[in-house]
Amino acid sequence: MDNEPLIEIRNLTLRYHGQVILDDVSLTVRRGDFYAIIGPNGAGKTTLIKAVLGLVPIDSGEILLFSEPAGPKGRARIGYVPQYQAFDFQFPITVHEMVLTGRLGRKIHPFSRYGLHDFEAANKALSRISAVSLSKKQISDLSGGERQRALIARALAGEPEVLILDEPTVFVDTPTEEQFYELLSSLSREVTILMITHDIGVVSKHVNRVACLNRKLYQHESDQLTPEMISMAYGCPVDLITHGDVPHRVFARHGNEP
């Protein structure tokens, strides 16, 4: 079913050590969306995603995955691409092995072994992001962009219906950034994508829905990014983003502009 809601967040409030991190946040991600949530550092973006994934407890509100209360069954249908600074990339594991761990969500027992189907899914995921040649490399030998792609392959190996990406471009160098978004854009034709980023510049022509988060979530009814949303989320008017190569489709033309 098209347009079916896959992730629904309703009036979510979350406190940590008494401090409000997320305040009455509501958000719906539908099948086919390429949804970007932008916001400054410390806005609660990662916390929001961790709440969806069940990694942090919520204080009030509810989260539905695939129209059911969030649980392990729903989470198995989500592919998560975490921020990779948190990783120990010295860990002795090859890209292929790491991508295979993305299959574990499909297993029932902790002592399951990988079967033929798992190897096929891992290979398919690697070829989907054009990284088959990296397969035998140890992850410590990868560049920043390659690591990011390998983490996406791990998420894809679980054959998810939604891909959640946390700051995917932090370590992708500028020349390959556009290429990276082309990749995400082509993935978005097959899988729904929810991406968070602190970088407004990257909310490019590829995404079709956008919201700003800074404790509260600011959305434009047309799902377009407006200067008002940004200034609310960032607490000040953001001038620089109106310059440069911001696609017109994201910014609505104001009626009084020439």
Binding site: P82, D88, F91, I93, F111, Q138
Partner: protein
């Protein structure tokens, strides 16, 4: 040197060293990649409490250590799952508390506490046949468990958060790892003693890490390196008539330093060669 093979106890010592190496290669690799060295240090030192308790109750000290160490592992796991932030302090408390409890028990024990020194610092040349059987059984247990749970253990060590989202019982798997550490500690006490166990758990894996691309490869290479180190250590111990624990560890530390320095120099030369 060859005449040493003529002695039953020497052959037992070599066999014990090889068997212990399997445990230490597998569990040590896991400890090193999952950054659990301080946890393993806490468990292994706390084991001394079990040795003391064994003396006090008139049990085999190693049996005392086995049950006591299991208890400590479960306690550390329970506290780790609840209070994440001060785990270092907790480990320190178990580390010193276990040893202090052992000393208390021993001072309350009437009569002669034989072999105390060998439990502290290890003397593999004194390994009794029943311990050889115990080490073998525990070694087989470790191999079966790690083989059975390998994909899950690998996933939890690499990225616990992702493993949790995937629906793996990460808490249970962490408990399993702590139990395996307790088992490994008991196996290794005979070889190097409670105080030096941590070195034998970490040095072979730290050396093998320079040459390993995968966790399973690291486990196999650590086992082989540990076998070489313990065997040579036992021979050195025989030749110089010094307790095996200290010879094995000192030899292991030397190998580790040489390999690490050699690798640094090699990398440096390769890098500067590229620049030219």
């Amino acid at each position: 040197m060859i005449e040493a093979f003529g002695y039953e106890f020497f052959r037992s010592a070599l066999l014990a060293g090889l068997l212990a190496s399997v445990v230490c290669g597998i569990i040590g690799s896991y400890i090193v990649v999952k950054h659990m060295i301080s946890v393993a240090g806490g468990v292994s030192h706390a084991a001394f409490g079990g040795i003391g308790l064994g003396y006090l109750l008139g049990l085999d000290p190693l049996t005392g250590a086995f049950f006591f160490t299991l208890g400590v592992s479960v306690a550390i796991w329970g506290l780790m799952e609840r209070a994440r932030e001060h785990i270092d302090t907790l480990i320190g408390a178990f580390w010193a508390g276990g040893m202090a409890f052992g000393i208390l028990c021993i001072s309350l024990t009437h009569g002669y506490t034989s072999d105390l020194f060998s439990y502290l610092f290890g003397d593999i040349l004194l390994v009794p046949p029943e311990h050889l059987i115990l080490i073998s059984l525990l070694g087989i247990f470790v191999i079966i468990i790690v083989t059975l749970f390998y994909p899950a253990l690998q996933a939890v060590a690499f990225d616990q958060e992702y493993a949790t989202i995937s629906g793996l019982p990460t808490r249970g798997l962490n408990l399993l790892v702590l139990i395996l550490i307790a088992v490994a500690v008991v196996v290794l006490i005979q070889v190097v003693g409670t105080i030096l166990v941590i070195a034998l758990l970490t040095l072979p894996a730290a050396i093998a890490r320079h040459f390993s691309k995968t966790l399973s490869g690291l486990m196999i290479k650590s086992t082989i390196i540990s076998m070489i180190i313990t065997t040579i250590g036992i021979f050195l111990s025989w030749i110089f008539d010094i307790p095996s624990g200290s010879m094995i560890i000192l030899f292991g530390v030397c190998v580790y330093l040489v390999v690490t320095a050699g690798k640094e120099m090699f990398n440096h030369r390769v890098l500067s060669g590229r620049e030219q």
